[in-house]
């Protein structure tokens, strides 16, 4: 069963084992494993889905059926930086459509597309739970609240110029954000390395923050 992922990095193989051990029924590991597989394959490719299917002993088509239900599993290659612009009601009331237009203009691609150099993908998304800091965007699911049109353009330039390997929400909020939904408290040490939600057990953060308080 595990041999199907013997070409994965040792860390990700270990993560897969640990995820499988976390559930009494292995099919529950489908979505977590698909996130890890998306790191290995850069996205939720057909190959990634086939590997996950074998790990949990269901058919590839069953995995595909699940993957297509959820917007966060990207079944085509996307950019290094995924800009998700919230256009739901509270962000809409606070100028989200203009923010989306500014992001599209600055990046040169429309929502749903990726730049030719593969650096940036743009999408508009439904509510991301940042309504008190509307309008809000996420970059690789790390949040910026209270963004302005100027700052949205500056964000794209910053991503292209500095090519950050880890996206830290506090840093981006400081550079490009404004009104927040609430006091964020102390600085969060972990951030996103890929357009996959940055969560240690899924391997998508800058290392373990264990004890790093």
């Amino acid at each position: 069963m595990m041999s199907v992922i013997s070409h994965w990095s040792l860390e990700n193989q270990e993560r897969a084992r640990s995820i499988l051990a976390s559930y009494p029924v292995k099919r529950s590991a489908l979505m977590p494993l698909l996130y890890v597989a998306s790191l290995e394959h850069e996205y939720a490719s057909l190959e990634a889905m086939c590997e996950v299917a074998e790990l949990i002993d269901i058919t590839p088509v069953q995995v595909q059926s699940v993957a297509t239900f959820y917007t966060m599993f990207k079944r085509e290659k996307i950019g290094d930086y995924l800009i998700s612009v919230c256009t739901s009601i509270s962000c809409h009331l606070n100028g989200a459509d203009e923010v989306l237009a500014a992001v599209e203009e600055a990046s040169g691609v429309a929502s749903g597309e990726t730049t030719d150099d593969g650096s940036v993908s743009v999408e508009h998304v439904e509510c991301i739970g940042a309504c008190g800091g509307a309008p809000a965007v996420q970059v690789n699911y790390e949040l910026i609240e209270g963004i302005t049109l100027d700052k949205a353009e500056a964000l794209i330039d910053w991503l292209r110029d500095t090519k950050p390997t880890v996206l830290l929400a506090d840093e981006m909020q400081q550079l490009f954000g404004g009104q927040r939904s609430f006091d964020w408290g102390s600085t969060e040490p972990q951030g996103a390395t890929r357009p996959v939600p940055a969560f240690g057990p899924y391997g998508s953060t800058n290392g373990s923050a264990r004890g790093g308080r």
């Binding site: 949990i56 239900f69 959820y70 917007t71 009601i89 739970g129 309504c131 240690g200 057990p201």
Partner: protein
């Protein structure tokens, strides 16, 4: 009189309220010690029943009563719903980012009372910081002996698994969440059987919201009766309201219910920015019918008063719209959300939400037809017959009927505006 329960620690200690050391310094895990050492499982359930805490995820069902439905079969599961996705809601995000141990202590006490040895927290994928903060809290709790085998020298053992979603609003519906947690499409299940009888892996399962469970430590420390004494009789305790839109002080406000909407919007929320007038507000998230100033400013903020006026508190999302708001555009935005998030199982929802979106879009684009208002009401009536509140259901879950709320709201309160937009349009195309 207590007026804050959930946000006390994070307000007093903004830099480290999420850490175990600060949690312990401020009385953390004392409620667990009391529950494990001095209380029987039945005592704990009785205290939760006595608290009259009504579920904070939207449905408002009494938590203790829900617990009472848990079937005796083993194993049983506790699943905490942190798939907060109702547009306008962001209170679970704050509770998990800023005070994860408060939730975790609630999970441990609840699991002990319910005979659960494996609990899950389903966190929406767009909340990675919540997941990271909870993960660190879980690791700290294992290290300190609050999780794992033989917790604090008792025979009670508990594991907690954090599970990230994939960006699907419908997974906030508890049976869709269970399907998702089982590695399936997030499609709601027919009820009955209810999760308390056949839930996760067809075993007895309690699904509770983050805010609900976060209240459990306080209830153990202070007693259910003390909790029930806070606020109006049938809206006991505090409620985290997320206020957003056109409002001077957006954010989460932990309040005791019982004030008027006027007080909430103008005193707590600081009123409408830039001296504008209030046009409408949504009292409980995108699913809820709207309130308007002429009718509802002196309505009481409570679960029952809002319901009696044809809407709901829901998960506590208040979305405020000022006089400049194009209410047709706002309604379209909400309907578009539901059309996007419909899981597609039930025909009235799958087809109806898309058609409502299309009709609103053509009105916005200047192609509205005189019959479009009646058409939208007819489509709505096919989704939720009678257009009543609470809505009649033709669907497995309430997502479809939720789509009707903005339609009935704009046709009821802003019909002249809607008619004017249609009359000013260029008429039918093609």
């Amino acid at each position: 009189m207590t007026d804050k329960i959930l946000t006390v620690r994070m307000d007093a200690h903004p830099s480290d309220s999420h850490t175990l050391s600060r949690y312990l310094d401020t009385g953390g895990y004392e409620a667990l010690t009391k529950a494990l050492n001095d209380m029987s499982k039945e005592d704990i359930i009785e205290e939760v029943k006595a608290s009259n805490l009504r579920g904070r995820g939207g449905a408002g069902f009494p938590m203790g009563v829900k617990w009472g439905f848990l079937a005796p079969a083993e194993p049983r599961y506790l699943v905490v719903n942190c798939d907060e996705s109702e547009p306008g809601t962001f209170n679970d995000r704050q509770l998990t980012e800023r005070d994860p141990h408060q939730l975790l202590e609630g999970i441990i006490i609840s699991s002990y009372a319910l005979g659960v040895s494996h609990a899950f927290v389903y966190i929406r994928g767009e909340y990675p910081k919540s997941a990271r903060r909870l993960q660190r809290a879980v690791e700290e709790a294992y290290d300190a002996g609050y999780l794992g085998q033989d917790i604090r020298g008792t025979e009670f053992s508990l594991d907690v698994t954090l599970h990230l979603g994939g960006g699907a609003y419908i997974c906030g519906e508890e049976t869709a969440l269970l399907n998702s947690l089982e590695g399936r499409r997030g499609e709601p299940r027919l009820k009955p059987p209810f999760p308390a009888v056949e839930g996760l892996y067809a075993k007895p399962t309690i699904v509770n919201n983050v805010e609900s469970i976060s209240n459990v430590p306080w209830i153990m420390t202070n007693g259910g009766t003390a909790y029930a004494a806070i606020g109006p009789e049938r809206s006991a305790g505090t409620k985290m309201l997320s206020i957003s839109g056109h409002i001077a002080r957006p954010g989460n406000h932990e309040i005791v219910m019982g004030m008027t909407w006027r007080e909430l919007i103008f005193d707590i929320g600081g009123g409408i920015p830039d001296g504008k007038a209030l046009k409408a507000w949504i009292p409980g998230g995108a699913s809820a019918p709207w309130f308007v100033p002429d009718e509802h400013l002196d309505t009481i903020v409570s679960i029952d008063d809002v319901a009696a006026n044809g809407s709901m508190i829901g998960a506590g999302a208040v979305v405020v719209m000022d006089e400049t708001t194009n209410v047709v555009a706002a309604a379209h935005r909400i309907v578009r959300f539901f059309a996007h998030e419909s899981c597609g199982q039930c025909t009235p929802c799958r087809e109806g939400t898309s058609w409502l979106e299309a009709v609103l879009k053509r009105i916005l684009d200047g192609n509205g037809r005189p019959e479009d208002i009646d058409l939208m009401l007819d489509i709505s009536d096919n989704i939720s017959p009678g257009l009543k509140w609470p809505p009649a259901m033709t669907t497995i879950c309430p997502l479809g009927p939720s789509t009707v709320s903005p339609i009935t709201s704009i046709t009821r309160w802003f019909r002249p505006e809607l008619e004017a937009m249609i009359a000013g349009s260029e008429g039918p195309v093609g």
